[in-house]
Amino acid sequence: MEGAAPDTGRDDVVAPATRPVRTLLRDPLATFGLVLVVSLALAAVFAPVLAPHDPGAVNATARLAGSSADHPLGTDELGRDVLSRLLFGARWSLGIAFLATAVVTVVGVLVGLVAGYFGGLLDSLIMRVVDVLLAFPPLLLYLAIVGTLGPGVRNVFLALIAISWAEYARIVRGLVVSARQRDYVMAAIALGASSRRVMLKHILPNVISPVVVLASLKVGGVILALAALGFFGLGAQPPTPEWGTMINQSRLFLQSTPTLMAYPGLAISLAVLGFNLLGDGLRDALDPRTRRLRG
């Protein structure tokens, strides 16, 4: 990411805000990703309106039923409507991923700004911590932390935040270090601008678009990690209709009713696919230099 800050060439002069959007929409895969993400987000928001049933309503007479007019995707082992659970599950699965990504981005950017701007011992210390956190595959650390703290949404959230800021901090720091040497930043410092002002007004803008790209590329990974924790029974606890938790619950019925696992699996896959495609598209739209690599 060295020197990945936007160069202030012609792009800024032409049409600063609309150009990336148009580039994004010219890319059919990215558009598809955007459509997927927006539809899933709408499904989550309007779950109470869209869901044909109460996601928690048990019906002993209609257990493990196939699809019907009343239950388009069938029912689970307690006779609950699978479609309604999936719709409400989007609130948990996507909501936590979204919230965690937002918090992690803010933390990572702040830490990276401070480390890169002030340098010195503080910077070295922070970067050592980052090295350690990035030395592990994240899911193993999530498992270890949630496994120690105990299962549940709160602890999953804490684990996500405790680990994932590191990658953002490393990238932001690199961008800050290179931005700090620009003439206009030097000039601002020489004119006596406060550190806070220099960081927020002059350096932060250089960081924003790479961070947006990183965050959009990472949301898919967060959704997968959440799903994996749910699958192990460490995430949201039943009867919460979180997608990973639903898959965990459906394991016993794998042979008799495989659709019980297939639908939440499909929902997770579509969500991750949507974010990955959107992230790729955003990267290409915001940083034209990477486009050549895709061929």
Partner: protein, 312 residues
């Protein structure tokens, strides 16, 4: 080269200390009093206040945290990763005993993933925009999006339950390893394949490749003898990441296929609240990752003189 190796080794020390600190702090997250937890595991009856106090003094649990951390690191250096609450056995021994089962699926999966990735990667680069290229791009997108456990269950349903070709779970014969290996390999092939492809495309545009073509070498020999060597350099970089992916994947795959590997040890420990094993797992895998990354870097430096020369 020797100096480069030494410098890299020294650079590992702070990171390893950081890993040990992370593991040490992790234990502090466990709810409850450590003396109580350990004695509950050792004794059949709840410990008395007197026993608790005695245990704290004997094990220095009342010492300041930095002293305890120092003792923890000294213990680690002597291979002491603590004692499992459940079995009463040393954690290191338990971990080491589980390594063969994990390797029995990760090594074949690594070989398979590498073979598929390089073969399809080259093909997609050479026949750009062909059916193979589009197909591999689609497969890559899908395998990045489908969770490992969904893939595993899909393979179980199709290959084991419906086609009846393979056993669903368990171990003993080679057939039992096919599904776990396939799950692991398919999940990681995609990113390696796309990397091989883009790196190959870049190399194919180099002048020495054009020269080789101009000199009339057959296409196959240009690709496989001249281009491939350089195209594979970036692929080795990712080998460390692939291994990380495999260990994560192994935790899931071993759980689904009931294999007694390192991953199931972790999962069992989590549900038994066997904190020393969780902690030991973090130190153990962290150390393994550091060493693997070191080996990958050294391998790269050996393959590519530019790397070791730049760092001098």
């Amino acid at each position: 080269m020797t100096r480069y190796v030494l410098r890299r080794l020294v650079a590992l020390v702070p990171t390893w200390l950081g890993i040990s600190l992370a593991a040490f702090l992790l234990a502090g997250l466990a709810p409850g009093d450590p003396a109580q937890l350990i004695l509950n595991a050792e004794l059949d009856t709840p410990p008395s206040e007197e026993q608790l106090q005695q245990f704290r003094e004997a094990n220095g649990l009342d010492d300041p945290a930095p002293v305890q951390y120092g003792r923890f690191v000294l213990g680690l250096l002597q291979g002491q990763l603590g004692t499992s609450f459940r079995s009463g056995e040393p954690v290191l021994g338990e971990l080491v005993a589980r390594v063969p089962a994990t390797l029995s699926i990760t090594l074949p999966a690594f070989a398979l993933a590498l073979f598929l990735a390089v073969a399809i990667g080259i093909l997609s680069a050479v026949r750009r925009n062909s059916l193979v290229d589009h197909g591999s791009r689609l497969a890559a997108l899908m395998s990045d999006s489908v969770p490992t456990f969904v893939l595993a269950y899909a393979l179980i349903i199709v290959l084991a339950v419906q086609a009846g070709l393979l056993p669903v779970a368990g171990r003993g014969t080679w057939q039992h390893l096919v599904l776990p290996v396939l799950t692991l390999a398919l999940g990681t092939t995609a990113s390696l394949m796309r990397l091989t492809r883009s790196s190959m495309l870049e190399v194919l545009g180099e002048e020495y490749v054009r020269t080789a073509r101009a000199m009339g070498f057959p296409s196959r020999s240009v690709v496989l003898r001249h281009a491939l060597r350089n195209a594979l350099l970036p692929v080795t970089t990712v080998a460390g990441l692939v291994l990380a992916g495999f260990v994560t994947g192994a935790v899931i795959v071993e759980t689904i296929f009931a294999l007694p590997g390192v991953g199931t040890l972790l999962v069992d420990a989590i549900f038994a609240r066997d904190y020393p094993v969780i902690q030991g797992f973090v130190v153990f895998t962290g150390t393994v990752f550091l060493l693997v990354n070191l080996i990958v870097d050294l391998l790269q430096a050996a393959l590519d003189p530019r790397i070791r020369l730049v760092h001098q």
